[in-house]
């Protein structure tokens, strides 16, 4: 049985709303208003003698592209600047803390291992370090997406270039990893050479990690700041 004209219009609106309402970027009240446009335009075109599909296509064209509108609405609904600054501060703090937490977790684990408590294998400290770095980066990305910071974070959801996207993350991981390996090797070498006791250097990994992890994370946070906050744009990157 052929559906009635109002039913077809409502079905077209439901389909249109699904397309425009994705991601929740356009508020439902805005969708209500635009749905009214769609309804009015379709009815007007049908009265003028168009077929339903022609009328619907005309109305959709008149309303415009979903992506374009979603982008515009995101710009308008961006949180006020003081709120954004607070978010930037939190994100930067999270980035810095990631380094500190990484250092403390890895250092304590290594120290405990060397003192014979062995809660974890020494090699597990590397994985713990990586895990906390990745968790920290994930946290920053969530903050960035939640508050619609268009630029910044580590750019995972923004930039197309893989190198640019993952470069800072990989750099951070590689430096931390090298710091751990280097610290372990140095300690092993000094102890083997009989110059120091094992216990005396048990915190070496902690020192290396705190020394490297903290500043590297802070640097990552600082270089991200120029992308997060318009007033800092170009200060770090020269753009």
């Amino acid at each position: 049985m052929a559906s009635s004209r109002p039913d077809r219009i409502e079905a077209a609106i439901v389909s249109w709303r699904r397309e425009f309402g994705r991601n929740g970027a356009i508020h439902s009240e805005d969708l209500d208003e635009l749905a009214d446009h769609l309804r009015d335009i379709v009815e007007m075109r049908l009265s003028a003698g168009d077929t339903f599909s022609v009328a619907e296509a005309f109305a959709r064209n008149q309303i415009g592209e979903a992506d374009e509108l979603i982008d515009e609405m995101k710009l308008v609904r961006r949180p006020p600047s003081y709120y954004r600054r607070l978010c930037v501060g939190l994100a930067a703090y999270a980035a810095f803390q990631t380094g500190i937490i990484t250092a403390v977790v890895a250092g304590l684990s290594m120290t405990a291992y060397l003192y014979g408590i062995k809660p974890v294998q020494a090699t597990n400290t590397y994985e713990l370090s990586l895990l906390s770095v990745v968790a920290g980066i994930g946290l920053i990305e969530i903050i960035r997406k939640r508050f619609q910071l268009r630029r910044g974070g580590l750019g995972i959801t923004h930039h197309r270039s893989i190198l640019r996207t993952f470069g800072p993350v990989l750099g951070l991981i590689v430096i931390l990893y090298l710091g751990l390996v280097f610290g372990d090797f140095w300690r092993w070498w000094l102890v083997s050479a009989g110059q120091f006791s094992d216990n005396r250097w048990s915190g070496f990994g902690w020192v290396v990690l705190l020394g490297l992890g903290g500043p590297v994370s802070a640097l990552t946070a600082a270089t991200s700041l120029h992308r997060w906050h318009p007033s800092l744009q170009g200060k770090f990157s020269g753009r």
């Binding site: 009240e29 805005d30 446009h37 609405m73």
Partner: protein, 112 residues
Amino acid sequence: MPSKDLVAASSRPLILSVLRRGETYGYALLGEIRDVSGGEMNWSDGMLYPVLRKLEKEGMVTSRWGLSDEGRRRRYYQLTPLGQTVFEEERQQWSRVDKTLRKAWRLADQTA
């Protein structure tokens, strides 16, 4: 047809001008703009709302939900006192631009 940039730049004064005449709703507002421009300013309907939201956010426009003659829920927009002031300022600025361009083009025609 004016370029996209020009259409975007003139969207605010156009909306303020229409709202200066009184409270209206989105579809009617667009219709008036199309009529006034003789179809030259062909906005997509979707592009109206980001501008309206921005004007609301800046305190130039307020809105309220009401009912249309057919009993449908409809949102009506109105200028605030700040919107009136901004409208006057924008009108003066655009008049100056218009005056300057007219003079420049007259001179250009004379020397051509």
